[in-house]
């Protein structure tokens, strides 16, 4: 009986011990501590823990992921963008890299390359351009969006085919709006030809707005955009103009929606100060 009690006791102790070990191995606790520091954006302290983990436990299952978080820390620190880029690229090459973290790494590579390019490192744009042909559409789309923001219009134009494809094939309104604005920025003609290829039956095609100051022959504000962006465009009108209109009892969103519903084509509002707003829907 005594023997049995000792055996059971030993079994319980071993079980608890192994259970505890399974819950918090030293490499895992080090990894968790590092992640908490990353969460709090304590980049330098997190970096020390992550380097410590990779040095002391090179075979740990967390050593690979530590590379990803190292990239996050280096990126967050500022001034070490190239090191961050290297860390993310190293992580992507790992055989056991997790798909979600690979996707994140690719996004971060695009962001870092964009920053480097804009600060004068011209070859860095290659990291964005290469990702225009990525198998994963999330990465491909993001590369195209980011490329549309570069100051060199010739380089930005390389994003046009992907952005046009997004408008033609995707359904997510957020993604569509981004692609439309990006195309409007770099190639309004391309946006026009894509929109003309897929007309939405029963809804207007274009919203035009002109604002003239009193006595001016040329409008102080001109806009021709696809109807799909109308809501966003009205939200983006200068707050002073909107406040002025509200004071006069006009709700621009309501007006435009009414115009669209009633199939009227034009609205002209003359302000007390002599300024004129004209809105066309075609």
């Amino acid at each position: 009986m005594k023997k049995l009690t000792v055996l059971i006791g030993l079994f319980v102790v071993l079980s608890l011990g192994s259970g505890l070990y399974a819950q918090t191995t030293p490499d895992e606790s080090l990894f968790r501590e590092a992640k908490l520091l990353v969460y709090d954006k304590s980049w330098a302290a997190a970096l020390i823990k992550l380097d410590d983990l990779r040095e002391k436990f090179p075979d740990s299952p967390y050593a690979g992921q530590a590379l990803f978080y190292k990239g996050e820390c280096l990126s967050g620190l500022g001034g070490r963008e190239r090191d961050a880029l290297r860390a993310y690229k190293d992580y992507i090459r790992l055989a056991d890299a997790k798909p979600s973290l690979v996707e994140e790494s690719e996004g971060s590579i695009i962001d870092l390359a964009f920053g480097l390019y804009e600060s004068g490192d011209v070859p860095a744009i290659g990291d964005i351009e290469r990702r225009l042909g990525h198998d994963n559409k999330v990465i491909r789309y993001y590369a195209a969006y980011k490329l549309s923001l570069v100051s060199d219009k010739k380089a930005a134009a390389k994003a046009v085919p992907i952005l046009s494809r997004i408008i033609e094939t995707e359904k997510d309104p957020e993604l569509l709006d981004r692609a439309r604005i990006a195309l409007l920025r770099i190639s309004p003609e391309s946006l026009k030809s894509v929109e003309d290829r897929k007309p939405a039956p029963g809804s207007p095609r274009m919203l035009k707005i002109r604002i003239w100051d009193k006595g001016s022959k040329e409008p102080v504000f001109s806009l021709n955009i696809p109807w799909a962006l109308a809501d966003l465009a009205l939200g983006a009108l200068d707050e002073d103009d909107r406040a002025e209109l509200r004071k006069k009892g006009y709700d621009l969103n309501k007006i435009v929606n009414e115009l669209a519903k009633s199939k009227e084509s034009i609205l002209r509002i003359v302000g007390d100060d002599g300024s004129v707003i004209e809105i066309w829907i075609e």
Partner: protein
């Protein structure tokens, strides 16, 4: 014929009060003395009154025209006319339509006035700038596109925070009940939100929405954890995440940032 050297134009100026005072006095004195000129002035006065009547008719007619719809109406009629079989013009009186007007001078005056009035109104309405009817290309200024992106950033951040709340509450619900939504579903949602966050990063930084960026970054870290879960999340792990979120008062912070964004939209 009047033997005096005064012209009809001078009488018209005299009658409409467009002459200088000295000249007007001289002509008034002359009318009193000269019967020919009195008769001439009477004729011009009658003519001017008739013209004024026609002018009033023209103004009335012009006012009744819907100028906004006029171009479309003209275009419709032009197309309709072009679709009608052509009618042969009467060979003997090709100017027949004009002759009809000649028969009614007032009507002719009205028609001429309408044309002149329409042209004047067109140019008056045309001001202050050209109508971009034929202008079919898209364009927007860089400044406007930036503002549109700021509006989009606010809306999308709000949307991201709301969806994140749902996912986190879903995780905690299942932690409380010891089951709940299967982990792969949460993982899918988390990955979707992570892909949206990529776009938000650039905008939040660009538009210096620091508070929103900080909270979105914290959520992103949690979703990185959730996105890696391939099996049903153990209760202990769920409890750990919930404890962490509660300790950092993440849901409260999300609500506060949401309120701020809602007031800005």
């Amino acid at each position: 014929m009047n033997k005096c050297a005064l012209t009809k134009a001078e009488w018209a100026d005299f009658l409409s009060g467009d002459l200088e005072e000295e000249r007007r006095k001289t002509m008034a004195e002359h009318i009193d003395k000269c019967p020919d000129c009195r008769a001439e002035a009477g004729q011009v006065e009658r003519l001017l009154k008739e013209t004024a009547a026609v002018k009033a008719e023209i103004r009335q007619a012009v006012a009744s025209v819907n100028w906004e719809a006029l171009p479309a109406t003209i275009a419709d009629r032009a197309f309709a006319a072009s679709r009608k079989p052509e009618r042969a013009l009467p060979a003997a009186r090709p100017w027949g339509w004009f002759a009809a007007l000649r028969m009614k001078p007032a009507l002719a005056g009205l028609a001429a006035g309408l044309v002149v009035g329409a042209a004047a109104m067109y140019f008056a309405l045309k001001a202050p700038g050209p109508r971009p009817g034929q202008d079919t290309g898209y364009y927007a200024s860089g400044e406007f596109l930036d503002r549109a992106e700021l509006t989009m950033a606010r809306r999308n951040t709000l949307d991201y925070l709301e969806k994140s709340q749902y996912v986190l509450l879903d995780v905690f619900e299942s932690a409380g009940e010891g089951g709940g939504t299967p982990a792969p579903f949460r993982s899918e949602q988390a990955r979707d939100l992570l892909s949206k966050k990529k776009y938000l990063n650039a905008q939040l930084e660009r538009f210096q929405m620091a508070k929103a960026k900080a909270i979105c970054d914290q959520i992103e870290m949690l979703f990185l954890e959730l996105a890696q879960i391939s099996d049903v999340l153990p209760a202990a792990e769920l409890g750990r995440i919930r404890g962490f979120v509660e300790e950092r008062q993440l849901l409260l912070k999300i609500n506060l940032v949401k309120k701020e964004l809602q007031s800005e939209i």
